[in-house]
Structures are given as structure tokens and as C-alpha cells.
């Protein structure tokens, strides 16, 4: 509730306006020669860092863009890029 996110387009806004898009895991690996395990690792597994993590957010009630932020998962606060 107290969480705020700084959208690159709209600036600092209440966390309510955004949708979480998961950890930043990079683009999908190429489909050809992809092993099921690697696919599963990419799609379903998370690092669940206790600390600063790079993650995707969507400004649902705003400009409608996807962007990444760094968030300290232990304090639930956005932090400066490392």
C-alpha cells in the first residue's frame, strides 16, 4: 500500500497503479534446440532474491508501458539502480 514506483514516463506514482510482471529473466531463449528443462527453468522458476532484485512492472492505470525497476524485497521499496 505504501509502495511507490517511479514510472519512466509518468514519474513517481502509487503502487496500486501498477501490475507486477515478474523478475527480469531476459528474453525467451531460442525455441529451436530448447530443452524442456531449460524452458521450464525460464518460464516457471524464480530466484526469489531477499534483497535487491530487478523486475518488470506495467503501468496499468497510467501510460501502459512495461519497464524494469530495482526493488529491495526485504523492505518493499524501490531503490536506485545498482
Amino acid at each position: 500500500m505504501a509502495f511507490t514506483i517511479t514510472c519512466p514516463v509518468c514519474g513517481i506514482r502509487r503502487g496500486y497503479e501498477f501490475r507486477f510482471g515478474g523478475e527480469d529473466k531476459g528474453p525467451m531463449p531460442p525455441e529451436e534446440s530448447l530443452a524442456s528443462e531449460t524452458w521450464c527453468e525460464y518460464v516457471h522458476m524464480n530466484n526469489c532474491i531477499a534483497g535487491i532484485q530487478k523486475e518488470w512492472w506495467f503501468h496499468r492505470d497510467g501510460c501502459g508501458s512495461w519497464f524494469t525497476i530495482y526493488r529491495d524485497t526485504t523492505t518493499n521499496q524501490q531503490v536506485e539502480n545498482r
Binding site: M1, R19, V43, G64, T75
Partner: protein, 973 residues
């Protein structure tokens, strides 16, 4: 009882009378009364009974810090009588009373049984043997909990909410808070000021003591309040209790509405650049035997009763205090006509000798180094025993009021909640913030200040600090103000005594949970040595007051006994909400914002039975016949019109638009041909169906696409998410509300269309799966030949503003061909007869397009597109053990239609019915079900279990789909 003559500090208005009902008793009050003061004026002393022991309880703090005065008001339980204005005609009931009035409680014997219920009683006693649980539960439930909520109670009132952004938020409207607000506002900042009481002024507001020559404190409070009122950039919320404080300077609070407000209560969420906490102090309870007997009250309670409401607390009062406020109150109350038996003071010396002299002048016995150890009287106080602190001497005095208070305790909740840490301060005896969250400042009495000028200056200083947080250049002002502060008196030395020489059996440390010192001793005896654990074991401080009463005394007492390994008192935590709040207030107003299609009004007028589906209002059917038979048959035989405007509609364009389509749709979207519609599906990474719809090519790199109704809100987000790493050049426009959709379906559809347009709409010129743009009487239309309901049909996408005109034109023109409206129920059955799925009805979270028989949509030869779900589609193509979609009919004719969602069983659950209805085309029940893959062979028996079928299963068999017109001739002709 008779009220005092008019005083300048009154908050009641003589002449404006009201009355409230307390049980059978009619109580007369005045405008400005709280429920508590109105009842007190009518000699009500027992306001309720306590939770466990059913002890009588009465006024104590007058600020609602404990559950003593929680009452049922007009059916609402646990209303805080001390904080709620009395309203004419209110019906008030005492709580936790078994019997007619709180004066005679049939459960009062519980008090005599308290010896049988030591701390942790429930944990230890009632867990073995397990067979006593049902009986124990029944009786504990009956005895537990405060207040009764009738299951059919309907909460009335208007509950509003407000989300406020401000530069500075000041919590507490006392002198320090007002000064902070004024100094921040003076820097041109927007300030929000929150005050729990109905008026500003706090600690000064009711006191006649001199502020400076000729100016009493109450007058100073009014001057400050007036300045605040005249400052346009200070927004003041009175009657507003702070309930939460979070990081990033988020403050939550709720405001009780006045008569003139449009809300009953209003939830506030305030985001501030900087926060000033000027919450001041509450009194630290003095603990002695029967310290919660009605008649025992705190200094502020006794003093404010007289000064704000004109009520002397009793006839004869004994004081046992530890702060100069007590001496001051005794002098003032004596002058107002209260007989003061004596003033005992915990302090041997450090009291204000001027006040002591004033007491002497009035012949009031003053006993430094003495303390109350027992209140007497079975229902209300009739005497008190005082003792010297060293327990060598005792005196018993008769009195009907004991004004008791051990000292002060700061209200630090707003600092602790967002992560501030408290440490014990030996000088003040307070738990003071050692670390304060960023952009938060504290001011006033909360720091231990008592001198009026020091309090105001600390407020001014905090206001400047807040201004600095907001980027104002105030360095010099800050230096100046800090210099001023240094010349003024600092924090006062505070008392530390919690309790005089008492045994503790009836000495209550927590009123809400009926927890005594004896209980604390028992907990410590069992090895609990940390206040936080003792709190859990005894439940002291877990009641509605959230530690307001025991919060300071518990750790002090534990440290004093030396049981704790750490000699420094350790405070317990508090949690939001710091003040009890109605759930209705949290819920706020019900913003049920639904959408209407352009056809809404005319559909309603035509008798449409509207239903809420997702965000939309849609017509389920147009008659009271729930089977919608006429509408269905008319589509099959003549022609029908459906309002399909809820469909998601999007434009996607740009040089990389096709790449984006290839990413999210499973088909080969490069095959979208001009003049043709392409039907396809979107899957998630697991290959499960998320959405289906059509795509048409409007122009080069410019597409128009549809999404299912429930999905339209997420489509843009979905496509952007899955292309987030690519940096492609494409744009999307949500046209869902810009376009309406008319689905005209039935064998006569073409005859109607031909009559309203000059375009060639023959089967040759505009075949099945075709897309055309033409005019209907100069109104542009995007037309598609689709077959969702299985008949010749045209889906007309029309600008919303033209919808009604085109619809009306079709209806008038189609009259001779038997045109009629149809609704969702008819569409549902028509499409089911065709075996067409609706996402969410025939699919669930784990249903892939293979499971639905839609695998043909998937184009596997575009790996470079990285189609979402493609990898999983490959993996699950031949996977065993999946639920597959099948059609079924009932085995025996005449069997009724099974209910949607009924499970399919043999020795275990094997699937479930998705949709089943009576088909008028086939003259028998048909349905679709998701079943284990080994059951999907044609002819397999499915046993359907329905709720309440008592073991009588319905029997169905798997059949091929579509049920109706399997060759699709009807929609292609």
C-alpha cells in the same frame, strides 16, 4: 446531574437539547455531548462489563483508549462512546452484559472465579482430552468476544474515501502540531493536519492555567486554532484518528463525519513529502487493586469532563497522581466545586511547589510520596486506601471518585509503525524514538516537554525540518529556531513507578483483556521473561486499545521485577489499525463501475433482462422464458440481432505489427489476407488458451483485431509484455468502446442486409470468412462473415455513435423477414450446438488448445517468431493424462439436463460438465464436458454427479461434435 455554569472551555451548547436511549433509560444531553458525556450527565456510571470477569467498567480516559466504554449504538457493536458524538434518538446498549442493565450482571460471579483462570488458561486447560472440545468451544464462544453483531444487521451510512497528496502531514492538532503546521505552511507548503478530537488544541485546550500574563492556555489554544483556520494552505481534519503509518510517508486515518458532512465516516490515505508526529502523551495508568472500578479515572478525564462538558466527575474525589497536571486539575476542580479529599503524589519532591502552595491555600491535604493501593466499592467507588510508597503507613478515605494516573506516556505509534525504534529514556521514563524513519519528525510533549513555549517552539522547529525535506531553503530559520529551543526548558523528569505496594490479584494492567498483575507474575513464573512474549501469553495489550493502556506499564513492570535478562525495559510493538475502525470504513464507497453498450437503453426498453458480465451489462434474454426458446428458434429459422459490442476491438499498426501478431497468436499471421478474416488463438507460455478472436488486415502494416469480452482489458498489456525485450515499432489503440458490434444471424440475414446497403453482399461477392467495408446509408461499416452461432451471419462493426441508427434500420427492414433480438442465453445454446467454445466455460487454467480440439490453429513452422506457448504446445501435443473437451448426450431420452459444473465420476472424479442445455434443434439435452483423456472416445459412458443427487447419477455418453449442422453448410450458404 446538574451541569456547571457556562465556562469559556465548554463544548456543549446550553439550550440545544437532545436525548438518547440507554436501554430503557431516556438520557437528556446537550448538543456537543459525546455519548459518554451524555450518559455521565444522566448519572450512568457503569458503561459495560469486562470481557472475562464481567467486572463493571466506566469512564477512564475520555479518549477511547480502552474497551471500557465500547457500546452498542443503533445495532453497531463496539462503538467508542467517548469519541462518538451523541445524536438525538440514538439507541445505546451496554456490552457483555448478561441481564437487563450493566448494574446487575448475571455473569458477575466470573469475577469470583478469576482464581480458576490463570494466565494462559485456555492454552493449557482445554486442549486435553479432545472430547471436551465441542463443549468447551460452545462455552468459550459464548463468553468470548466483545459486542454482538446480528447476522442480518445491515450497516447504514455513507462511507467515503479520500486519497490525498500533500507536502507535509502533521499528526496531532495540539499546540506543537498547530505550530508545525503553521511554520510549514508559512514556507508556502500544502499541509494536512490531523486531529482525533472534534477540535484543535490538545493539551492546552481545556486548561485555565496561565500561558502568559492574562492569557490562559485555553485561550492560546483558540488563538492558534484560529490562525490555522485562517491559513488557506492548511487542510485540517478534525474527528480524525490516525490508524496507520507506513514507509514512503503514507499515513492512513479515518474521519468521523459531522452532521454537515456527506459521509458517516471517511477513510483517508495521505501521501506526504514529510511527516510531523505531534501526537503528545496519554496518561500512564496507575496500577492498584480495583484500578478500573467505575469512579476511577485519569486526570484528563476528570478535568475535561468538567471543563468541556460541565460535569463534575463526582462529589468527593481523591487524587493519586504523579504529574503536575494532577495538581493543577485538583486545584481547578476544587474551584469548580468538587470536594477534594486529598492529593497523593508519587513524587517525593520534583513537583511544582507553586501548585502545592495553591493546594494548601484551599486546605486540600497534599501527600507527596503516597499512592493509592486499593479502590473500594462493589459497583462504583466508595472509598480508597492510600499508602506511603514505602508501605509503612496507610489511610482509607471515603470518596466516589479516584483520579489516578502514574505519569505520562508518549504516543509513538506513528513513528514505530514505519520502522522507527524506541529506547528507554531514563530521564523522562519514556520510550522515545531513537531512530526515526526518513522525512519524519517529532515534536511536542511526545519528547517529554511540558513547558508551553518549549512545546510550541519544538513544533515550529519540526515544521521547518519538514519544509527542508520539501526542498525549501530554510537553513537559517532552522538554526535560529534551534537556538530558541535551547533557551527553553527541556524534557521534564518523569515518574517511573507503575504500582504501589499491592498484591496484584485485582490490579488490572490491561482492561480490554482483563489481565491483572497476578497474570503477569504467573507468566513470568512460567519463564516468560520478555514483554513481547508475556503479551502473547497473557494477551495483555492485544485488545482494541492496541496497548494504549498496558503499553508502557508492562515493560516497566517486567524490568522492575528483574525477571528479564535485559534490565532495560523493552517496549512491545503496536500494529495498525491503532484505533478500532469499522470494516465499512475500510471498504469505503462501492464504486461499482460497470459499462453499458451503445444499445443499452434500447435493449432495456425492449424488455432485455440485463445481467452483469464482467464489467459489462448485457441482455441475457428478452422474455421471461429462461430457455430463450423463441429467440433460438428465430435465429435458426429467420434472423436475429445480437448486441456484441462488448467484444474487445483493437487496432495494431506499425512496421513491426506483424511480428507482434506472430508472437502472440499461434497461427501463421502472415497469411492474413486482404478481404479475409483470420481466426486464431492466443496461448500463455504453457500453451493454455488465453483468448481467441479474429484479425483482419486494414492496410499495409495496419490490422484490426478482436479479443473476447472478458479479456479486452488485458490485451494491450499482454502483447506489450511479450514483446518487451524486442524494441519493435508498433502501436496499439483500444477501440473497444469506439466501435459497437451487431451480430445479424439467421438464414434471412442476407435479405435484410441487401436492403440496407448498395454493396454487393451476395455469397460470391462476400463469402464466408470474408471481410468487407461498405456504407449503410452513408454510415461506414466493417462487416465480417462469421459463424459463431452456426447460421449465415454478418458481424457488423459500427462506430458507437451510429449503432442505434443502424440497429433500428435493420430491425425495421428485417420486420418482413421475421427479425428479432436475441440475447446471451440464446447465443450460448446456439454456439454450443455448434461445439464452439467460450473461454472460461469450456476452458480453464490448464486447458491447452489441443485439449479443446483447436490444435489445428497452431502453426508450428515459425520458431523465429518465438510464439508464446509454442514450445509447450509441442510438448503437450501428445501428452497423456490431460482433460479433453467432448460433447455428450444423455443415454436415456427424457433425462433432464445436468447442471453446469457437475463432476463426472466413476470411483473418482474424472472431469466435469462445462455447459449443458436443452437443444431445441436436436430436441434433446446436449452438453460439453472436460474429461480424462481415456474417456473421450465416442460412446463412452459418463456418470454425472449432481449436488444433492443422493447417489443417483445421471448417465450420458460421449458423442461427436458439432451437434448441429456438422458440415457447416448453414453458415457458408
Amino acid at each position: 446531574m446538574k451541569r456547571l455554569n457556562q465556562l469559556p472551555t465548554f463544548r456543549i451548547q446550553y439550550g440545544k437539547e437532545l436525548s438518547v436511549n440507554f436501554g430503557q433509560k431516556r438520557c437528556r444531553g446537550l448538543e456537543g455531548d459525546t455519548i459518554a458525556s451524555a450518559l455521565y450527565a444522566n448519572d450512568v456510571r457503569i458503561f459495560g462489563r469486562s470481557l472475562k470477569y464481567h467486572r463493571p467498567r466506566g469512564l477512564y480516559s475520555l479518549d477511547g483508549e480502552c474497551s471500557n466504554t465500547m457500546m452498542a449504538v443503533d445495532g453497531i457493536p463496539n462503538v467508542r462512546a467517548e469519541n462518538t458524538p451523541a445524536v438525538d434518538g440514538m439507541n445505546i446498549k451496554a456490552q457483555n452484559v448478561f441481564g437487563k442493565t450493566p448494574d446487575f450482571d448475571m455473569m458477575r460471579f466470573m469475577d469470583e472465579l478469576s482464581w480458576a483462570m490463570p494466565a494462559g488458561f485456555y492454552y493449557q486447560t482445554l486442549h486435553k482430552p479432545s472430547r471436551i472440545w465441542p463443549l468447551a468451544i460452545k462455552h468459550i464462544r459464548k463468553a468470548a468476544g466483545l459486542g454482538i453483531l446480528s447476522p442480518d444487521f445491515h450497516m447504514r451510512g455513507k462511507f467515503d474515501e479520500s486519497y490525498i497528496s500533500t507536502d507535509v502531514c502533521v499528526i496531532g492538532g495540539g499546540p506543537a502540531g498547530m505550530c508545525a503546521a503553521l511554520s510549514a505552511a508559512d514556507q508556502g507548503l500544502r499541509v494536512v493536519l490531523l486531529e482525533n478530537r472534534p477540535w484543535l488544541g490538545g493539551y492546552f485546550e481545556y486548561r485555565p492555567r496561565e500561558y502568559q500574563k492574562g492569557v490562559p492556555l485555553y485561550q492560546r489554544a483558540r488563538e492558534l486554532a484560529e490562525s490555522v483556520g485562517h491559513t488557506p494552505n492548511i487542510r485540517t481534519f478534525k474527528n480524525t484518528a490516525m490508524i496507520g503509518s507506513y514507509h514512503n510517508n503514507l499515513i492512513t486515518a479515518f474521519q468521523r463525519g459531522n452532521k454537515s458532512d456527506i459521509f458517516t465516516e471517511r477513510y483517508l490515505e495521505i501521501r506526504a513529502g514529510s511527516v510531523v508526529v505531534a501526537t503528545g502523551c496519554i496518561e500512564r495508568p496507575l496500577l492498584f487493586e480495583n484500578n478500573e472500578r467505575p469512579g476511577v479515572m485519569q486526570i484528563g478525564c476528570a478535568h475535561r469532563l468538567a471543563r468541556n462538558w460541565g460535569l463534575l466527575p463526582g462529589k468527593r474525589a481523591a487524587f493519586s497522581v504523579g504529574h503536575d497536571l494532577g495538581l493543577e486539575a485538583a486545584i481547578d476542580l476544587a474551584d469548580l466545586g468538587l470536594d477534594i479529599a486529598c492529593v497523593a503524589d508519587i513524587r517525593q519532591d520534583s513537583y511544582d511547589s507553586n501548585l502545592a502552595a495553591e493546594l494548601e491555600k484551599r486546605n486540600i491535604p497534599f501527600l507527596p510520596g503516597w499512592v493509592a493501593i486499593r479502590a473500594h466499592g462493589s459497583k462504583t467507588v466508595n472509598a480508597v486506601t492510600l499508602s506511603s510508597i514505602n508501605a509503612t503507613r496507610r489511610r482509607k478515605l471515603s470518596c466516589d471518585t479516584v483520579v489516578a494516573s502514574a505519569g505520562m506516556t508518549p504516543v509513538t505509534g506513528p513513528v514505530i509503525l514505519p520502522g522507527g525504534k524506541l529506547t528507554y529514556d531514563n530521564h523522562t521514563g519514556f520510550f522515545l524514538p531513537a531512530t526515526i524513519p526518513p522525512q519524519m519528525h517529532v515534536a511536542g510533549r511526545l519528547l517529554g516537554l511540558d513547558d508551553p513555549f518549549a512545546i510550541e517552539t519544538s513544533g515550529l522547529l519540526a515544521g521547518l525540518k519538514a519544509a527542508a525535506d520539501c526542498g525549501k531553503p530554510v537553513e537559517n530559520n532552522l538554526k535560529e529556531m534551534a537556538k530558541n529551543q535551547a533557551t527553553l526548558p527541556g524534557p521534564t523528569r518523569g515518574t517511573k513507578l507503575v504500582t504501589g505496594p499491592v498484591k496484584g490479584k485485582e490490579t488490572f494492567i490491561c482492561f480490554d483483556e482483563d489481565c491483572t498483575l497476578k497474570n503477569i507474575n504467573q507468566a513470568m513464573h512460567r519463564g516468560f521473561d520478555v514483554p513481547e512474549l508475556i503479551k502473547r501469553f497473557t494477551s495483555a495489550g492485544t485488545g482494541p486499545g492496541q496497548g494504549g493502556i498496558p503499553g508502557h506499564n508492562l515493560p516497566m513492570y517486567v524490568a522492575e521485577t528483574g525477571e528479564s535478562p535485559d534490565r532495560n525495559p523493552k517496549p512491545t510493538t503496536v500494529r495498525p489499525p491503532l484505533v478500532p475502525v469499522y470494516l465499512a470504513t475500510y471498504a469505503g464507497s462501492n464504486h461499482d463501475m460497470s459499462k453499458r453498450t451503445p444499445m443499452h437503453d434500447s435493449q432495456v426498453k425492449a424488455g432485455g433482462k440485463m445481467e452483469r458480465i464482467g464489467v459489462w451489462n448485457r441482455a441475457r434474454r428478452f422474455s421471461s422464458d429462461t430457455s430463450a426458446r423463441k429467440e433460438i428458434e428465430n435465429v435458426r429459422n429467420n434472423v436475429g440481432l445480437l448486441d456484441g459490442s462488448t467484444l474487445g476491438k483493437f487496432r495494431i499498426f506499425g512496421s513491426d505489427a506483424l511480428k507482434a501478431l506472430q508472437r502472440v497468436y499461434v497461427s501463421d499471421m502472415s497469411k492474413v489476407a486482404e478481404g479475409k478474416v483470420k481466426y486464431s488463438a492466443m496461448c500463455n507460455e504453457d500453451g493454455c488458451l488465453m483468448d481467441d478472436g479474429i484479425v483482419v488486415k486494414i492496410d499495409e502494416n495496419d490490422y484490426y483485431m478482436t479479443a473476447s469480452t472478458g479479456r479486452a482489458g488485458q490485451t494491450i498489456e499482454w502483447i506489450r509484455y511479450h514483446t518487451r525485450y524486442d524494441g519493435w515499432n508498433f502501436h496499439m489503440v483500444n477501440l473497444t468502446d469506439a466501435y459497437g458490434v451487431i451480430n445479424m444471424a439467421g438464414p434471412n440475414a442476407r435479405k435484410v442486409l441487401e436492403k440496407v446497403t448498395d454493396a454487393d453482399v451476395s455469397n460470391e461477392a462476400f463469402p464466408f470468412a470474408g471481410y468487407r467495408e461498405f456504407l449503410i446509408q452513408n454510415m461506414p461499416v466493417r462487416a465480417m462473415r462469421l459463424g459463431f452461432v452456426g447460421e449465415l451471419s454478418y458481424e457488423l462493426h459500427v462506430l458507437s455513435s451510429y449503432m442505434q441508427s443502424i440497429w433500428d434500420l435493420l430491425e425495421i427492414t428485417g420486420k418482413e423477414f421475421g427479425i428479432q433480438k436475441f440475447g446471451l442465453e440464446a447465443q450460448n445454446i446456439l454456439r454450443m450446438e455448434k461445439g464452439h467454445v467460450i473461454i472460461g466455460s469450456e476452458s480453464e487454467q490448464r486447458t491447452t488448445i489441443h485439449d479443446l480440439g483447436l490444435g489445428f490453429l497452431w502453426y508450428r513452422n515459425k520458431p523465429e517468431a518465438k510464439t508464446v506457448g509454442a514450445f509447450a504446445l509441442k510438448d503437450t501435443e501428445h501428452q497423456k493424462g490431460r482433460l479433453k473437451l467432448v460433447g455428450f448426450k444423455m443415454k436415456e431420452s427424457g433425462t433432464r439436463v445436468p447442471k453446469d459444473g457437475s463432476p463426472l465420476v466413476d470411483s473418482r472424479i474424472r472431469g466435469y460438465v462445462c455447459t449443458a442445455r436443452y437443444s431445441w434443434a436436436l430436441k434433446e439435452p446436449i452438453g460439453m464436458a472436460l474429461v480424462d483423456d481415456d474417456l473421450c472416445g465416442e460412446g463412452t459412458t459418463l456418470n454425472i454427479y449432481e449436488d444433492g443427487c443422493k447417489g443417483k447419477l445421471l448417465s450420458a455418453k460421449v458423442v461427436s461434435m458439432p451437434f448441429y449442422d456438422p458440415d457447416g453448410k448453414q453458415m457458408r450458404c
